[in-house]
């Protein structure tokens, strides 16, 4: 059952990405281009998502186990440090270069976009590089 609901949540997430325009890199860059002719659509994507999310997380915060009886894993870290902000900056630069963030890149895989295959492969290499650097940092 958790595997099925996980698939279903991914499916709904992906449908939202396609419908909202987030899955179109040109539209994402149109939103990020404040100085050009600005497309404010993606602000409404965030607004819609957070409006629903606020209710869901208010409920989740009051519970220890999910409606399927699984533990609810809410993040506990509260540190705002160089790692968080530096990572955010690197991510933002990459996002601004191609207009892809992780979710939409996966949705584009499903559309058979060869460019998305290249992006996702490079993204996985970047994630593996993080694991390698973290492993080395802990070893010292």
């Amino acid at each position: 059952m958790p595997i099925f609901t996980s698939f279903l949540a991914g499916l709904v997430f992906g449908l939202g990405l396609v419908l909202s325009g987030m899955a179109n890199p040109a539209k994402v860059l149109g939103f990020l281009d404040l100085a050009g002719s600005w497309d404010p659509s993606l602000a409404l994507v965030m607004l819609g998502a957070i409006a629903v999310g606020l209710v869901a997380f208010a409920i989740a915060k009051r519970r220890k186990i999910s409606f399927l009886g699984l533990p609810i894993n809410l993040p506990t870290s509260r540190h705002i440090d160089r790692r968080l902000l530096g990572g955010g900056l690197l991510f933002g630069i990459g996002w601004g270069i191609a207009g892809f963030c992780p979710g939409p890149a996966l949705a584009n895989l499903g559309m058979g976009e060869v460019k998305a295959v290249v992006f996702v492969a490079a993204m996985l290499v970047g994630m593996a590089l993080f694991e390698f650097l973290e492993h080395r940092r802990r070893a010292y």
């Binding site: 595997i3 869901a56 933002g92 976009e113 970047g126």
Partner: protein, 144 residues
Amino acid sequence: MTIDWSSFTPYSSLAGGMLIGLAAAMFILLNGRIAGISGVLGGLLTPKKGDVGWRLAFILGIICAPAAYALLAHVPTRQIDAGWGALVLAGLLVGLGTRYGAGCTSGHGVCGLSRLSPRSLAATAAFMGAGFLTVYVIRHVLGI
């Protein structure tokens, strides 16, 4: 700033956003997990027993979404202008950055802000700010 009204899609973007919020709601209230794509994906690189299936299922769901969408409606056209080198560089930065920053647009931007997390607000400000600045430099300073 001039607003590009011809590209503005308020209804579909708002409805699509609500679907994304619904997916995040399902994931936390049923599976007890944060719908953060970079975290779900990154966890597969250091696989632990019993921790792989739900990750793959969620990712498979996203990948299958365009085909499911095509059964219901016409899939909107999309355009990827970045060249191959730019895609590789962008992918590396997104992969590295989302793991150091412990989240992306979904984990920090949607789930984190919905949880009213100051940490996620700081992360979202960092990547949105960097995204705005990067597009400004590429389009209006370098003129690419």
